[in-house]
């Protein structure tokens, strides 16, 4: 890192090595997306052709056209929408509970030695437990309705947020803490002004993992026991060998997952613009 020039991370200008190389490297905006999109279209065409030529039965692998038809009618009839809202509600509510308790509990563990001594070993032990394994138990306790799935989602999504919050709050640079101490700052002021903002990159790394796990928890929870939701609908389609509908629901879940992930990353980018180290990679 150069110390004498403003380190804004932007190079002075593009370095043109030679005429041909620079022409070859110059990229049209969105060209990468165009390449991956056309690869996807090619895959769909090959898939469609292979299934038709080889006469693969629909209940083994339906052609993309059948999936799109199923998707279209599922959306048009409102069936997918209705179940989507159940799953989305469970996922988001569970995720928010996980974020609230993960950050809150993490703060208590990081700030108070007594809490750390009593609670932390148990949290570590619980973390190694596959949370999905207790899903049947939660269905028994909280019923077949939405509540049980919210609890499962919260439980599955809690740990990455909790652990990252604790690590983030503890990883504060001693120099910044000394600065606050030299000013006679209270523990609360140090927490609010230094420790918490300092932990935000870690917390967001946890949230990024947690949002993916939240959808997973929601669907698996519905598999274990539910009355509605996209996971419930997948099971139902499964029993009917309606593989095209299963694929159609997977498409919806994929779009849902990518959208949620992008929302978290968008907020992260807005809040953590100052953090040069945070990774944009998926």
């Amino acid at each position: 890192m150069t110390d004498t020039s403003p380190a804004n991370g932007k190079p002075a200008g593009p370095v043109i090595a030679s005429g041909r190389a620079s022409v070859r490297r110059r990229s049209i905006p969105g060209a990468d997306y165009l390449v991956s999109l056309s690869a996807f279209v090619v895959l769909l065409i090959v898939w469609e052709a292979a299934v038709r030529v080889l006469r693969v039965p629909d209940f083994i692998l339906p052609p993309p056209s059948a999936i799109f038809i199923s998707l279209y009618y599922g959306l048009k009839s409102g069936l997918f929408i209705e179940h989507f809202f159940v799953t989305a509600f469970q996922t988001l509510t569970g995720f928010m509970l996980a974020a609230f308790f993960g950050i809150g509990l993490g703060a208590l563990v990081a700030q108070f030695r007594i809490v750390e001594r009593t609670v932390y070993p148990w949290l570590v032990a619980l973390q190694t437990l596959p949370k999905i394994a207790i899903a049947p138990l939660i269905i028994i306790w909280a019923g077949y309705g939405i509540q049980s799935k919210v609890v499962i989602v919260a439980l599955v999504a809690l740990f990455p947020i909790l652990v990252n919050t604790i690590v983030g709050l503890k990883s504060c640079d001693q120099g910044k803490l000394d600065l606050m101490r030299s000013l006679g700052a209270t523990p609360w002021e140090t927490f609010r002004l230094v420790r918490l903002p300092n932990a935000l990159p870690f917390i967001f790394a946890g949230l990024n993992v947690a949002i993916v796990l939240a959808i997973l928890g929601s669907i698996v929870g519905e598999f274990v026991g539910s009355k509605a939701g996209l996971g419930n609908l997948i099971l139902e389609a499964n029993f009917q060998f309606n593989v095209a509908q299963m694929f159609a629901i997977l498409v919806i879940l994929g779009v849902f997952g990518v959208t949620l992930s992008m929302v978290v990353r968008f907020i992260q980018g807005r809040l953590l613009f100052w953090n040069a180290g945070f990774s944009q990679s998926i």
């Binding site: 890192m1 150069t2 110390d3 004498t4 020039s5 403003p6 380190a7 804004n8 991370g9 640079d173 120099g175 910044k176 000394d178 600065l179 606050m180 101490r181 030299s182 000013l183 006679g184 700052a185 002021e189 002004l193 230094v194 903002p197 935000l200 613009f273 100052w274 953090n275 040069a276």
Partner: protein
Amino acid sequence: MGSLSTVLKLSPTNSRSQASQDSSAVSLQNVSKTYSTASGEQVNALQKINLDIRSQQFVSVIGASGCGKTTLLRIIGGLEPEYDGDLLLNGNKRSGPTKDIGIVFQDANLLPWRTVLDNVLLPAHVLKLQIKQATARAYELLDLVGLKGFEAKYPFELSGGMRQRVAIARALVHDPSVLLMDEPFGALDALTREHMNLELLKIWQASKKTVFMITHSISEAAFMSDRVIVMSPRPGRIIEDVVIGLPRPRGLDLLSDAAFGNYTRRLRHLLDNGEDAPTIGSNAASGRVHYD
């Protein structure tokens, strides 16, 4: 030491430092500090340090790594609450942090999520000062350290030297009478460092603070200071208190001056040979030096 009189004369406008004419801004009496390491070994970091720093003096400390310089600064700054002996600040005994001190650390320690202005205002927030007045003062200080127009920038947009200047402005925003600096320019390259030395002298002359600065650089110490405290390695003791009788204001041409060369040679000699060094050039007339 007639040339020092202008510097040592207490300014009547600064009421805080005027408890009595001969009171020191910082006074350490028989201050010792012992650490115990992880293996249970007792390390004598500081041994019976006696030091008086008069108001508005610029005092530097030099010494080998591990001689307890930083421990000394941390004790004065209230960051090391456990030590033996007495510490008086403007005549009052104290322990723990006080708002009459500003500290510049080796790293700028800026909060990357705050703008330059908000970083400078951090002490004002913590010390519950009037934000409106503090903001006006922060603008003045940023102007003083040459960062006018950078108020809304973020630390990642600044160079290392600029960040350290923000740290200096931050240390001064609550108008402390004492400024502690722990190798403030240690991480900077030689040219930036020289420039920062001149800037700091300018700031010191404008703000009239008592400055206690740790440095590794002999020439930096001699160039900036009224007195240079030379410390010995473990256990940390004061070997010599050298009064730098060079006229002020000082410019870079001083670096090639023969008198300046005498001082740096003497300081170098003291660092190499400890207390056996023969006295040349100056003597410790104004500083109260104690040997143990």
